[in-house]
């Protein structure tokens, strides 16, 4: 039995790697590749007549493997299937950190899963509220309702778009410049930021197109995404490298936080640094930069 610490609602989630929960060879040590979160899939990767064996494999993995600092999320089957409630029970019984709600379209979808999770937490004696939720928006309706989805539960830590299904609904195909998803990505990001939760981009499926992957990552970063869903370990390093702050940003963040704490201790709330006004509004951003720098091995100090 590997007890996992209480999941943190807000933590670094640059990379979420999908893998089939039914494949012990994949899930036994997926954490060695260094992604921030792993996403054990009970949904599309698992054939309809294998759902129970996948749950069995998932439960034993959660109970016997030490995933360390890597967050463990499970993608459950959609609410239009007969599987999702049993999926939720397995996640909670096994002690997964969070659940990804597939094909989420409304606040009531989130609330339904939230209620099922609460029931399961009671059933298995887990701390109530421990299990986190995120939603995958896969349809135009999901995107339209993004804000109510993001704010539907205290368990919600983020939303992600699922490009494949969404493109089908929109009668479009993958475009290298991202024009196919630009509106949906934008609306989802605005909703997530308004709700104060994280936002993740969809998978990039052509593993041989390194250039295309990098171009999409650059756009993701420019738009303000927190991270990306991945399908192969080789995609992890490019994301971590691209999402890493620059040396200059790290130094600046360090100076802002040090100076702010110094000034605050002396009773000063607003001051200038290098000719720029600094107040408490700058602190969360600077702290986020340092946390990111720490995860990237660029910062070893004690400010965060």
């Amino acid at each position: 039995m590997i007890p996992r610490p209480k999941p943190q609602r807000f933590r670094l989630r640059r990379t979420m790697m999908f893998m089939n929960a039914q494949k012990p060879g994949l899930i036994k040590d997926a954490y060695i590749y260094g992604c921030d979160s792993i996403m054990l899939d009970l949904e599309d990767a698992v054939a309809e007549n294998q759902k129970d064996s996948a749950r069995f494999s998932l439960y034993h993995a959660l109970k016997s493997i030490d995933y360390g600092d890597t967050e463990v999320i499970v993608r459950i089957n959609g609410l239009d299937t007969p599987h999702w409630k049993e999926d939720v029970r397995v996640c909670v019984a096994g002690g997964a950190d969070g659940i990804r709600i597939a094909k989420c379209e409304s606040a009531s979808d989130v609330k339904a899963v939230d209620a099922a999770v609460t029931d399961a937490e009671k059933e298995f004696g887990a701390e109530e509220g421990r299990t986190l939720l995120m939603a995958a928006l896969e349809s135009p309706k999901g995107i339209i309702n993004a804000y109510e989805i993001c704010t539907a539960s205290e368990r919600m830590f983020g939303v992600a778009i699922s490009g494949g299904d969404f493109r089908k609904c929109m009668q479009t195909k993958f475009q290298a410049d991202g024009i196919d998803l630009i509106a949906a990505r934008g609306q989802m990001l605005i909703a997530a930021r308004a709700a104060g939760i994280q936002c993740f981009d969809t998978v990039f499926t052509n593993l041989d197109d390194d250039e295309g992957f990098l171009a999409e990552l650059k756009q993701n970063k420019a738009m303000g995404f927190d991270g990306k869903s991945l399908i192969n370990p080789k995609q992890i390093r490019p994301v971590h490298e691209l999402f890493a702050p620059t040396e200059k940003e790290v130094i600046q963040a360090e100076r802002i936080i040090s100076a702010y704490r110094e000034q605050a201790a002396a009773g000063v709330g607003v001051f200038t640094l290098d000719g720029k006004m600094i107040d408490i509004a700058f602190i969360p951003g600077a702290e986020r930069t340092l946390k990111l720098a720490k995860a990237c091995g660029m910062y070893n100090g004690g400010l965060v």
Binding site: D29, I32, Y33, N232, P233, K234, G297
Partner: protein
């Protein structure tokens, strides 16, 4: 007597000045006398050395009971020659009590395994032992213990006269009528013939067996007519599909790639990684993939590799063609790209196993190596490596150049997954020590990197580069926590194989395994 790697070597093996392993560099600086080879006088004008059959060549060379025949594995699993010769010796000439001295033995030599069982072959000297031969020797069916030497240790023993070869049989992709041989130009090409060279120089008699007779002179020759007694032409010397693999491709397995990337990171963190550095890597998944990541670091730092040695395959030839490595010198070519490149691509040369790895010469290439990247079946917490015996105690591997390159190089990196199926690769005690731990510097696994505490300089290099590393004990404990603690193997007293260190001292012995019972 307990030796320097804590192995108990039976006293009865320590006769005629034989010593147990005393640690690396024990013999360094010592002068030794070479055995003088035998030749014959040829004064008359010479037409041809062709003889009609292998049996006739054996008769002409006065083959008799108790002789030592040598073979070479440059045709690898596609080799027909060793079995053809042994068949003629045993079935046609009725010889017995024979000793096979090979550079490696494996799946291509099942007939020799039968002759061991029949008592016709009573001794084996080799650098690799796989397949059925490994199994029959492990069962104790060979009359005398097999002697296993590294690729460098074997020519050392031959040149010292510790191994006396009565007749060397050289499989030649092409030969002329007097025995100038090359590894290319025929129908069973292998590229380098480096393993056969020392044998041809030191054997009393040399028989060349080819399937492609070419005009005299077949030049530049790998084995030269000056050492050859007879040439036999046969229909086929080997199965070309098994001699050289199709072009080696770099692994796409994410685990291999991650380990390979870490190997390159470690290399790039050391002071030896500078313009003109030298390098050898294996052909296993993560070892070969290290090429890919190393190239990236070379480009970043604007440096080139000075030279590479080894068994060579396509990806290294690519680097040569791109001008990123200046010279490639090899004893063996693993794939079709390397076979087609040797002596063709400018800068790609052949060398003998002695030149490659023999500690008893004055300029072995391994002693000039900066980095070697090697695999392992097992590695223990003293960094001792086993590449010879399986976890079941059966002989199924090859020291090859492992101990030579590990000892000679400045930085020896072992790369292996932490577990293979239910087996812990990183363990408390390896079954057999084939490469002593004091020659091994860094271990890269999928669960972390460990540096030999003897190398505090490398530990500092890794720390300065921000490369995380752990103790090897941590890795061993992690492995056991994943797959469980293995039970000890159960051995009989009988020694079935003696493992010589490259300097000729005894590094370890392999005993007969007791049949497994639940």
């Amino acid at each position: 007597m307990i030796n320097a790697v804590k192995r108990d070597i039976p006293d009865y093996l320590l006769k005629n000045g034989k010593e147990v392993y005393q640690g690396k560099f024990y013999m360094d600086g010592k002068y030794v006398k070479k055995a003088s080879p035998k030749t014959r006088i040829y004064e008359k004008p010479q037409e041809s050395k062709l003889v009609r059959s292998i049996a006739e060549a054996l008769r002409q060379c006065e083959a008799k009971d108790g002789m030592t025949f040598s073979f070479h594995h440059h045709l690898r699993n596609g080799d027909y020659v060793a079995d053809m010769v042994m068949k003629a010796a045993v079935e046609e000439l009725g010889l017995k009590d024979l000793v096979v001295a090979a550079t490696s033995l494996g799946d291509a030599n099942n007939l020799i395994a039968d002759y061991i069982e029949q008592g016709k072959v009573v001794g084996i000297q080799t650098s690799g032992i796989r397949g059925k031969i490994g199994e029959v020797v492990s069962k104790g069916m060979l009359k005398t213990p097999a002697v296993i030497r590294s690729h460098g240790g074997r020519p050392r023993a031959i040149e010292a006269g510790e191994v006396h070869i009565d007749i060397a049989f050289v499989a030649a992709p092409t030969s002329d009528c007097v025995g100038n041989c090359r590894g290319t130009g025929g129908k069973s090409n292998c590229g380098s013939m480096g393993y056969a060279m020392t044998d041809a120089e030191y054997a009393d008699k040399v028989v060349v067996i080819t399937d492609t007779l070419v005009d005299f002179p077949n030049y530049p020759a790998s084995v030269k007519a000056i050492d050859v007694d007879a040439v036999v032409v046969v229909d086929s010397i080997g199965d070309s599909g098994k001699i050289a693999s199709a072009a080696a491709r770099i692994s796409k397995n994410p685990r291999d790639l991650m380990m390979a990337e870490n190997v390159a990171k470690v290399i790039a963190s050391t002071p030896y990684f500078k313009d003109g550095f030298s390098f050898q890597t294996g052909v296993g998944g993560p070892s070969l993939a290290a090429n890919l990541f190393l190239e990236k670091y070379m480009d970043e730092r604007h440096i080139k590799m000075g030279w590479a040695i080894g068994g060579i395959c396509g990806p290294m030839v690519e680097l040569l063609k791109k001008g990123k490595v200046k010279k490639v010198i090899d004893v063996q070519d693993f794939d079709i790209d390397a076979v087609n490149s040797i002596n063709q691509t400018p800068g790609h040369f052949e060398m003998s196993a002695s030149q490659y790895a023999n500690p008893a010469n004055k300029g072995a290439f391994v002693n000039k190596l900066d980095f070697v990247v090697l695999a392992a079946l097992e590695i223990d917490t003293d960094f001792n490596v086993n590449v010879l015996t399986g976890s079941d105690g059966i002989l199924r591997g090859a020291p090859g150049g492992h101990p030579d390159t590990a000892a000679g190089s400045k930085c020896c990196i072992i790369v292996t997954p932490l577990t293979r199926g239910r087996m812990a690769t990183v363990c408390k005690h390896v079954v057999t020590v084939t490469t002593p731990g004091d020659c091994v510097d860094v271990l890269v696994t999928d669960y972390g990197i460990a540096v030999n505490p003897l190398r505090s300089d490398l530990i500092k290099n890794l720390d300065d580069a921000g490369i995380p590393h752990v103790s090897i004990e941590f890795l061993q404990e992690k492995a056991y926590s994943l797959v469980g603690t293995p039970d000890d193997l159960q051995w009989e007293d009988k020694v079935v194989a003696i493992l010589e260190a490259r300097d000729g001292t005894i590094l370890d012995v392999v005993r007969q395994i007791k049949p497994f019972k639940i």
